[in-house]
Amino acid sequence: MSGAASHWDAALAQGKILLQRPAGGGPAIFPPREFAPGTGEPLEWIETCGSGTVYSVTWVQRKPPEAAYNVVLVDLAEGARMMGRVEGVTPEALHIGMAVRARIADGPVIVFDPAPPASKEPTDG
């Protein structure tokens, strides 16, 4: 039987972003483990809903004309944190606390898009 990371890779290739959580419930865990970090208890696989919040952000500068790119830490709704990038945003628009949504881009690699905050109606069509 393969390790947890291989299982995760296979799921991503099939279009699913998996996390783990303790078998009895609790905050989600990422990256994949063989058992729960800190307790050693068994884990179960869950699929993320994809909603997340930007926990921190940095823009890596490059020599012009190459544009700067962002690197973010995202807290997923289920409780796990992962590194990522938010696509289609300017440095002015991307901020800590911003709502984002995970998507699987070519690679496959997980990227994030800006998402309307869950508590507010979208401001335009």
Binding site: A5, F30, P31, Y55, S56, V57, T58, W59, V60, Q61, Y69, V71, V72, L73, R81, M82, M83, G84, R85, P91, I96, G97, G107, V109
Partner: protein, 383 residues
């Protein structure tokens, strides 16, 4: 049980640096060996008396083996723990325990790097892990940038306050003959320097230099026969919480919040009793994070704490009195140089000597805020 430490039973009896700044034409082990030679001479101890070797080199995963061969010794114990810039504090902990137990009689801890002469870039075999790598964070810089950005968001820390750290380090360096980067540096200079990974700009970053350092440790009773007054080791603790900073529960709190209090408890002191602090300032945010985590100010107040010259020459808390990694030297794993400066302060021989200093705290950082280790040194009569 746990955290039982032989307070003051082991002392540093030799300390040296070599090739700080630029030392062209040297391999890493040649630099380390020259520092070892100087540290042994400083202690008045002959090479054959060394029976424990502790070393990390940037380019040699088997550095302990290579060093035994290079020195022509058959050591009783060899350790090349690699916890980044905190490696040497961890080496010291192992050495202290082994010396106190009588397993070893004389331990050498050493480091050497030629990264300035050999390429001019930080020399490290470390890389982002497979989960972080697809997003191309600069390693290690972007990880510190993410911590700085969150600290600024959460506590209102400003880029000007980060810049104060670099300015204070430069002021110390300006009066240290050994320091590599000298000359005027203002807050405006730091703010105007090239942005690399927001909010960290070029002058928020440590230097890239060559350099080597070595310490010689022996039991305190034996150290009294050495050439200079011994510097007793009063407490030391290492704490590791993760490797990738992505996995930090709270990126604004480092494992220094564990290693510092544990080391100070072993020494029987509180932060108020620390006369001089040497910490691994790979980036300006480090100094702020570690001063908070080590207990010199509350969490979130580090930015205000480092302002108005508090950690600069003449300030209330002398921090990185050699100029630190920001302005003295940064040959990669800087922890070794923080310890040497702490030892010099305890001996009364530092270039920027703090009069009457009795307690020095040296703090190492490894990985990307990942591994933290703190050592409390005392003046000769504190043991």
């Amino acid at each position: 049980m746990g955290d039982r430490f032989p307070r003051g039973k082991v002392a540093v009896c030799g300390a040296a640096t070599f090739g700080i700044g630029e030392a062209p034409g040297h391999s890493t082990i040649e630099l380390a060996s020259k520092a070892i030679r100087l540290a042994l001479d400083d202690a008045g101890i002959a090479l054959p008396q060394v029976d424990g070797l502790f070393i990390a080199l940037p380019d040699d995963l088997f550095a302990g083996l290579s060093l035994a061969q290079y020195l022509g010794l058959h050591p009783r114990f060899t350790d090349n723990n690699r916890s980044g810039g905190a490696s040497f504090m961890s080496h010291l902990i192992t050495a202290v325990m082994m010396l106190d137990a009588g397993y070893l009689d004389c331990a050498v801890i050493a480091y050497g790097a030629n990264q300035r002469s050999s390429g001019g870039k930080l020399s490290t075999p470390a890389r982002p892990d497979r989960w972080d790598a697809p997003y191309n964070p600069l390693y290690p810089l972007s990880f510190y940038a993410l911590a700085a950005a969150r600290h600024m968001h959460q506590f209102g820390t400003t880029r000007e306050q980060l810049a104060e750290v670099a300015v204070s380090a430069r002021l110390w360096a300006n009066t240290n003959p050994e320091a590599f980067a000298k000359g005027p540096l203002s807050v405006e200079d730091v703010l105007g320097s090239r942005m690399i990974s927001t909010p960290i700009s070029a002058r928020d970053c440590c230097l890239v230099t060559d350099g080597a350092a070595a310490l010689v440790l022996t039991r305190a009773d034996r150290a009294r026969d050495c050439r200079l007054p011994p510097v007793p080791i009063l407490g030391a603790a290492a704490a590791t919480w993760y490797n990738s900073t992505t996995q930090a529960q709270d990126i604004t709190i480092t494992a220094a919040a564990e290693s510092g209090p544990r080391a100070m408890a072993m020494a029987g002191i509180t932060p108020h009793q620390v006369d001089v602090v040497q910490l691994y300032d790979a980036f300006t945010i480090n100094t702020i994070l570690f001063l908070e985590d080590l207990g010199f100010c509350p969490k979130g107040e580090g930015g205000a704490f480092v302002s108005d010259g508090r950690i600069a020459p003449g300030g209330a808390l002398p921090v990185n009195t050699n100029g630190g990694g920001l302005s003295c030297c940064h040959p990669g794993m800087y922890g070794m140089f923080a310890m040497v400066e702490a030892v010099r302060q305890m001996r009364g021989t530092a270039a920027n000597q703090i009069p009457g200093a009795q307690i020095a705290l040296a703090h190492g950082n490894g990985g990307t805020l990942s591994a933290q280790a703190s050592v409390v040194f005392g003046a000769a009569d504190t043991a």
